[in-house]
């Protein structure tokens, strides 16, 4: 179908965009458009006005700032894919970004757009959850930081006011020597994952796991950290028995059912994928 009529504004500065967002009723921000444009074409979305932030160059960057890697909200997924900073400091994100849609959609799709769309099986929100990212949102009242854990207010619904706009996201890389793995299962390459899993782990000097992060995407209303499974692995040597105990927890994680996929199938994927991802991450951390 064709998109409904809407007003269109294309600000060139963040201040101008925030001013429009504050003043115009029923406005929505248009980032890369790889979700919103299809929702408009299918008439799932009826905004009165689109505020197109594609002409704000200040929102597109990848930079190291202190102990963080920061991404402007309009950074294209393609730029993430080919960024040296991402490849060397955020290997988990680099592995996951290759699963985002197709080359043609990554060319336009943005980091901020994917975060605000907040599809529970989308890769960028899953990685942001796995790495405890900090999200910066701005309005005419100023800028505030939100922990990724608090960012989802519900299914595909970020905890932002109607006149707020996501401006950047900061991710703290894990220390050198950590293990990582991202796996997902979908029916075709580039489709939304039925279940995805992101794993990070780090061994201490004593040979025991000192940090573990396990995140499941696609399983609930938003990506979820499986804290129980993380705790089972902490202070262990990461043997196969330890991995099996973590997998057992993932097999029982609360899952949603829909028309196509029953909850038990998602749970089995969660267990299988997390087991595989843990083994890959352990190998990359130099164990096994």
């Amino acid at each position: 179908m064709k998109a409904p009529a809407f007003a269109y504004l294309a600000p060139t500065t963040v201040e101008q965009a925030l001013g429009y967002l504050h003043e115009v009723e029923g406005a929505r921000v248009l980032a890369g458009g790889q979700s919103l444009m299809s929702m408009l074409n299918m008439r799932y979305a009826f905004p009165d006005c689109l505020i197109d932030i594609n002409r704000i160059p200040a929102l597109s960057y990848i930079r190291e700032s202190g102990n963080l890697v920061e991404f402007g909200s309009m950074t294209r997924q393609r730029d993430v894919e080919f960024s040296n900073i991402v490849a060397t400091r955020l290997p988990l994100l680099r592995e996951a970004i290759l699963h985002v849609g197709h080359r043609q959609t990554r060319n336009r799709g943005t980091v901020g757009g994917s975060l605000c769309q907040l599809d529970p099986s989308a890769e960028i929100p899953t990685i942001a959850t796995a790495m405890d990212a900090k999200v910066s949102v701005a309005s005419v009242r100023g800028t505030r930081a939100i922990d990724m854990a608090d960012f989802p207010a519900g299914y595909m619904n970020p905890a932002m006011e109607p006149d707020e706009m996501l401006v950047s996201i900061g991710i703290e890389p894990w220390p050198q020597g950590h293990g990582h793995a991202f796996l997902e299962f979908s029916r075709r390459h580039g489709d939304f994952a039925i279940v995805s899993t992101a794993v990070l782990l780090l061994f201490g000097e004593d040979g025991l796991l000192s940090r573990v992060s396990i995140t499941l995407g696609g399983i609930a209303a938003a990506p979820v950290r499986v804290t129980l499974a993380e705790n089972v692995l902490l202070q262990t040597r990461g043997t196969q028995r330890d991995v099996e105990r973590a997998v057992a927890i993932c097999l029982a994680v609360d899952s949603t059912s829909d028309t196509y996929i029953p909850a038990w199938y998602r749970q089995r994927l969660a267990g299988a994928l997390t087991g595989r991802a843990l083994n890959i991450a352990l190998k990359r951390a130099g164990k096994q």
Binding site: P4, C49, N107, H189
Partner: protein
């Protein structure tokens, strides 16, 4: 920054200037019009096809400033000031086929042809940056396109053949 009665004015058609296949083109589009409908309806370049209109099939793929883009997921007003390449611009101005077109023709890489313009633009983007891609790289690019006739095998072969032609083999 006060906007008086924004809806009627700001949703009206506005002038757009862009370069398509090396030629400067002017047209008018309401903000709601997407790029592929603008190319077809306003500029009469009907070589680019409209398939699913939600970014899945890849039939409407064109190059915007050199990168492959879904023509249905970009507004015409967003293309103001850009440089667009469509299937009409792939062959030489004298009509000689691009190596991709030659290879598709020779190797029977299309049947109904509906998906072909989009696939050729994505393949052209790939070969512009890498004239010796492996089969995996070709299939990765093709994953963004649906073809219901061929089963893709001949398309993969043809793209690899085009790369060989471009390398002078």
């Amino acid at each position: 920054m006060s906007i008086s009665n924004p809806i009627p004015d700001l949703s009206a058609a506005r002038p757009i200037t862009l370069v398509v296949n090396g030629k400067t083109c002017n047209g008018h589009a309401e903000p709601r019009v997407n790029l592929v409908d603008f190319l077809r309806g306003e500029l009469h370049l009907t070589g680019t096809h409209v398939g699913c209109e939600h970014g899945v099939c890849g039939a409407c793929t064109v190059l915007v400033d050199g990168v492959s883009t879904r023509g249905c997921l970009m507004l015409a007003v967003q293309a103001d000031g850009t440089n667009i390449c469509t299937i009409e611009g792939l062959s030489d101005p004298d009509g000689a086929f691009h190596p991709l077109q030659k290879a598709f023709h020779e190797l029977h890489a299309l049947q109904c042809g509906f998906c072909t313009p989009g696939i050729l633009m994505s393949a052209a983007e790939l070969l512009a940056s890498n004239n010796d891609p492996g089969e995996d790289a070709v299939r990765e690019v093709l994953s963004g396109h649906l073809c219901r006739c061929t089963g893709y095998t001949n398309i993969v072969t043809a793209i690899l053949r085009a790369a060989a032609i471009m390398r002078g083999e």
